[in-house]
Symmetry: none
Subunit: 229 residues, 2 copies
DNA sequence: GCCAATATGACAATTTGATGACAAAAATGC
DNA sequence: GCATTTTTGTCATCAAATTGTCATATTGGC
């Protein structure tokens, strides 16, 4: 949970509505009332998701989305578009442009939350708040608990986030730089080698239940969580 | 228990019926015979739930609900709509507008109570009025009493609400910010660290019956009530 | 064996939570 | 209304856990 979500919406009433709802759901909303302002914010720091009104004064939502999709840095940020009811053409254009989902106004908070969670699950599993399990190793973000074959495992905050990320994206190699971005945050200044140390601490903790083998070193590339040898 | 429930219904007979039933169940009913009057009442003070007749003279129930959902202050108030039997379109419109549940007239008092309780449980478990118990620690909202292994425990108002919330949502971690929102109210300006102090006071009180271990610190994340070590 | 990459253990700085004290504010009793 | 008692929020301080970095050992590939 706790995803940073950028809300681009010019109508103050709806904006506040959405913001309150997001906070309630445990996310961190950031607002912009125009595509221009949104672009500036995105340049500062990447959100985990964007809720985008399709009808905006100035630069339209379509154009804004197109720019995001054209930039490699922002290409992968999921977009949910907010459209007026029945505006079929918008939906088509939107999905073609690369939006991940759309919601027609007026929408219920429940529906909004459901779609956000669905998109997060697809695009950024570690933010969806679901428990993950791999061969007896289980991590539950809601209770903040880790167990190996049902025996509790103690982890420091960083090791917890690191394991969470790796378990949410198993079988894939991540460079130290990528891990720093994903687990530490994309604006910190930390040595690459620091990742090694935390990997070691993580392995240490997992050793108790023989799950340390899951965290594998890929020489020259980085680390990977894998069930295979 | 003791939720303040706004009943919006133009037919006096049904209104009285519902009111009596609500009182019987321990709630505090407030009545309005039109959406306009209801809006005025809501402006005064927020009810915990609204029972809304879908067929109203003047402003319709749909429109009334829509307005409530459009205002951040009233957005989260659960709505149960009362519809005539078989009016399927109403149900659909109603649920889309954000109603939490519906009941078709005529309904039995039992059914009404059941649905009210269900919605309260879903939306604000600590308002449902059920006593909660965890390993000998018992909190009863109805009598406003806390006991540990049947020995009475004294708590200040804030500690009571805090424990109530935690017991209503066991095993889950809540950040200090979330606890402030849920226990203090989402509009107060209080230091995050204040939560620490109240947690400590709560633990102090629970110490007498060895239940202080239930309130656990999750370093870097927040607090949790859990039966596990 | 050599080289580069990674693992490891130790360490100091920083962060985080616990605790006791205190004054303001609210509730209560008279 | 006024005095007394509770409750509340904040702070300063202490103890403990976490974190990033480094120096050094180990490993794997060639």
């Amino acid at each position: 949970m706790s995803a940073m979500i950028l809300v681009v919406e010019d109508e103050p009433a709806i904006r506040e509505l959405v913001v309150l709802n997001l906070q309630q759901a445990g996310h961190r909303p950031v607002v912009a009332d125009s595509a221009e302002q949104a672009l500036a914010l995105v340049r500062e720091s990447l959100p985990d998701m964007i809720l985008l009104d399709w009808m905006l004064p100035g630069m339209s939502g379509v154009e804004f989305a197109r720019r995001l999709k054209a930039d490699g840095r922002t290409r992968d940020v999921p977009i949910i578009m907010l459209t007026a009811r029945g505006d079929e053409q918008d939906k088509i254009t939107g999905l073609e442009t690369g939006a991940d989902d759309y919601i027609t106004k007026p929408f219920s908070p429940r529906e909004l939350n459901a779609r956000i969670k669905a998109v997060l699950r697809r695009r950024a599993p570690q933010m969806a708040g679901d428990a993950v399990e791999v061969t007896g190793l289980r991590l539950d973000p809601a209770t903040h608990r880790v167990t190996g074959n049902d025996r509790p495992i103690e982890l420091g905050p960083t090791e917890f986030r690191l394991l969470h990320f790796l378990m949410a994206h198993p079988e894939r190699v991540y460079s130290r730089a990528q891990l720093l971005d994903q687990v530490w945050g994309n604006h910190v200044f930390v040595e690459d080698r620091t990742v090694d140390v935390h990997i070691r601490r993580l392995r240490c903790a997992l050793e108790a239940t023989r799950h340390d083998g899951l965290v594998q070193t890929v020489r020259g590339s980085g680390y990977r969580l894998s069930v295979h040898t």
